[in-house]
């Protein structure tokens, strides 16, 4: 009696090198969180890493076009966009926000120190081929439509696609 084995014969060929990947889960929408997210994403791309940023929950709001004011279908979603304005020119600080004075000072300091703004970094990320993927489920939850969001993003996707992209690479949750 012979037994079939599923085991593959050993070959001398080396395993293919794992792809150097960086996946960032951008969960936060504040200026001081989205900024390092974009700094790390562009730096990762500059290092030749296949870089993906998956924007979910509060992280979606920086992707809203600056000129879009109220988003959503029902009063709850509309209220959410009232209270939490989207767009990369309207981001708040997670501490010392002082009704917008904090971000204004931070942006002033950044200009003085020649630090690229989140807007410039977002453009740079697109140019460098960083995959910018909005989360479909949270878009639906928050009432954000594809046309509310900036251009240059990839098709909205789900958690499985995000995890599949992240597989075997470096992951950050910001």
């Amino acid at each position: 009696m012979s037994v079939n084995t599923l085991e593959q014969p050993q070959t001398a060929e080396p395993k293919p090198a794992t792809i150097d990947k960086l996946t960032i889960f951008a969960w936060s929408g504040e200026l001081d969180k989205i900024w390092p997210t974009l700094i790390l994403a562009t730096a990762g791309a500059a290092m030749g890493k296949e870089t993906t940023v998956f924007f979910t929950f509060w992280g979606l709001f920086p992707l809203v076009k600056n000129e879009v004011r109220i988003t959503g279908e029902n009063w709850m979603q509309k209220m959410l966009s009232m209270m939490n304005r989207g767009g990369d020119e309207h981001l708040k600080l997670s501490k010392m926000n002082f009704a917008g004075a904090g971000p204004a000072m931070m942006e002033h300091l950044a200009k003085e120190h020649h630090v690229a703004s989140p807007h410039e970094l977002m453009d740079m990320a697109k140019e460098m081929g960083v995959h910018l993927i909005p989360c479909q489920m949270t878009m639906d939850l928050m009432g954000l439509k594809r046309e509310d969001l900036i251009d240059g993003l990839e098709e909205p996707a789900g958690a499985t696609k995000a995890l599949a992209d992240a597989q075997g690479g470096m992951t950050l949750f910001i």
Binding site: I39, T42, A46, M47, H114, A116, M128
Partner: protein, 79 residues
């Protein structure tokens, strides 16, 4: 034989991560073995360029400082 620098970048005053990003973009236009010279003033660019070279396989031939200006010479990796 003198060493020829194929391209020179002035990245003075720029802060992290821009010096490395602009360098990475410029490097794409070079041929393997060619040299890229970079001037920067961000002190963080010293460890950043060292790490970037290690990660990408490009060689950091020179890393020096004079009067607060850092000079890096990078050699594009051969295939």
């Amino acid at each position: 034989m003198s060493v020829t620098i194929a391209m020179s970048l002035n990245l003075k005053a720029l802060s992290c991560p821009m010096p490395v990003i602009k360098t990475a973009k410029a490097m794409k236009g070079l041929l393997p073995g060619q040299l890229l010279e970079v001037f920067a003033t961000d002190p963080g660019s010293v460890p950043d360029f060292k790490a970037w070279a290690q990660a990408t396989g490009n060689r950091l031939v020179e890393s020096s400082e004079a009067g607060g200006v850092f000079r890096f010479i990078l050699k594009k990796k051969e295939f």
